[in-house]
Amino acid sequence: MPAFLTALNPGWLMILAGVVAIFLPMRRVRQGITIAAPLLGIALLVMADQNVNHLTASVMGLDLVLYRVDGLSFVFGLAFLLAALLNSIYAWHTDNRLQDGMALAYAGAAIAAAFSADLMTLFIFWEITAVTSVFMVLAAGTRAAYFASMRYLAIQVLSGVLLLAGACYVYNNTGSLGMKAFVSLREPGAMLIFIALGIKAAFPFMHNWLQDSYPKASVVGAVVLSAFTTKLAVYAFIRMFPGQDALIWIGAVMTVFPVFFAVIENDLRKVLAYSLNNQVGFMICAIGLGSAGVGNALALNGATAHAFVHIIYKGLLFMSMGAVLYRTGTTKASELGGLYRSMPWTALFCIIGAMSISAFPLFSGFVAKSLTMSAVSHEGLTVVWLMLLFASAGVMEHSGIKIPYFAFFGHDSGRRVKEAPFNMLLAMGMGAFICIAVGIPAIVPGLGYEWLYNLLPYREEAMSYQPFTFDHILTQMQLLVLATFAFIVLKRFGLYPPEKPGTILDTDWAYRKIGFGLAQWMGTVWGKVGPAMTAVFLGISSRAYERIEAAFSPRGELARGALTGAMAIWTAALLGLVLLLAFVTVG
């Protein structure tokens, strides 16, 4: 392969193709590029040697590693490229230059970030993902999307700024920008970087940007958004914070709390956004296991495998809800139902995505989540394990059952629409294929789940792990079947809360109501106080001017004749006083 091709980061290729696409008015040519770029990227990645610095640079004395592939970044890069390919196919029916180009550049930035091996390069692509992704929200063109996109951008840029500050501390302390695992959060810069990644990974209380913006994005935009940002953060956590105890609990809480929001949320794309949070929680929890700075091989494999399969099945679920939104104009559960009559293929693909995320045996979620669950139990973390198991039942509730049931089955809304466009079905079909292909046993050695396990960073540990044991299948089936039975019982006895329209308050209430209200109040106060203060100042200064003028102007008090006469007397009196004083002091 020519040298320049081996040094070409697939992410850079995608960004370049994205910039070209923005200026390309010929629709089909542009869309051809958006499909060809990820394909070419996959080819470049597969051919690239691992653990070699393919491209380095020295800028202002900083040594940057711009392209390096290793076992970990390979999996994330491949998943991002596959997601970008499916997204481009999914967007074939649209004609939006900005969205096409920005989606490609956004994917490219995430890929380039995953293949960079120093903090400064990571920071640059970190910020590019923020700036390009905001167009996915803006593409919706609604007022709500505009405001959400501004909040989104502010929070994403804040994450970038924290990352930069952390990188500066690290450089100041060690003299190197190389990305390495932190042993303690007390190391200089570690906490800043931890929070920066935490924002992007949507940690509890930092998660609102996700539920705020993704459901307001355009049909295609939400699909694109679901793949990259949070998983890039997961990648960076694996790289820099393996084995940080704090992550275990943060991850466990992340898996549990969205479950409660998802059950009452009416907008199915928002349910998926909460579900995304819950899934990333599993990965974060896995990263925290093991000793600080090293991690637990089984768990890190689990987090990586989970990220890979999650990118595909969450994309698939967002695609199916996007298809529903495209045809019906809504994803509100209270306005949907019975759509399998019009959109049976979409329903089928949605169910495959739902079964994958619920980790049914023979679907991709099962082979990935098993690694994490096993690692947690091996470490003897009883409470965490019970929390993750609780969250697994929760996933079954909101993503496994709620999403397909309320959109495609349940009460017939009477909507009779067309099936999704062919390109959408094709993208969904490809996603569904990957979900099953990766989830089945390795009947042919090297295929099925072994294909994925072979790619994982700790390959030997992965290949020695058996997901398809009788115990394992039995226990997982018990959990899922009895959870499904609970749904049927609750529905049958009218105990399942009805889907109602409304806004569900989350912690962003603090800044969207109190914070915004406070800012508005201060604005109003300033609007009234400002002019009043100006008037007071003007009054005082004009009065002072009048007084000065009255005293000193040619027609003023001091210029009058009476005073001139009095001056001689005053001069004489003062002279007398001075003489008296002189006399007294000398005497």
Partner: protein, 145 residues
């Protein structure tokens, strides 16, 4: 098969045209707006008493999985996870808890759709030929009469 098919067509031709007609049928939406694949893939959901069938069917499957557990010696890291049917009962309990929590949480956290003042229509890239929603799909609010 349509009536204007020539009589003289050979067998393979007739087979192909029949296959093509079948394929055509499978993506031709009926007058009622029902996709033909809906019947093939999900026709079973329209069975009479599907609720009862699902209730007893899934219930029996769950029971069978727990009964199977009696005969299996599992090797769990946590002692309590070895209890017969632990996973099934835990899954049932968690699911029920989450759903039942939906009642009080819904009352506590649900506000009007325009609470933040930004409720609005769908995004710009929805189907331009979208049909109007039927009456039954219009949102209904409690107290609407």
């Amino acid at each position: 098969m349509s009536n204007d098919t020539p009589e003289t067509r050979d067998k393979s031709g007739r087979f192909l045209s029949r296959a093509a007609e079948k394929a055509h049928d499978l993506h031709t939406v009926s007058d009622e707006g029902i996709h033909p694949m809906a019947k093939v893939l999900f026709g079973w959901t329209e069975a009479k008493n599907i609720g009862a069938i699902m209730f007893w069917g899934v219930g029996a499957l769950g029971a069978a999985l727990i009964v199977l557990d009696v005969f299996i010696q599992r090797h769990e890291y946590f002692g309590f996870a070895n209890w017969t049917g632990f996973y099934g009962l835990y899954g049932f309990a968690c699911f029920t808890f989450v759903v039942l929590m939906g009642w009080p949480l819904g009352n506590l956290l649900r506000r009007g759709e325009n609470y933040y003042g930004d409720a609005g229509g769908p995004p710009a890239d929805v189907d331009p030929e979208m049909p109007l929603p039927p009456e039954s799909a219009q949102p209904t609010y409690e107290g609407d009469d």
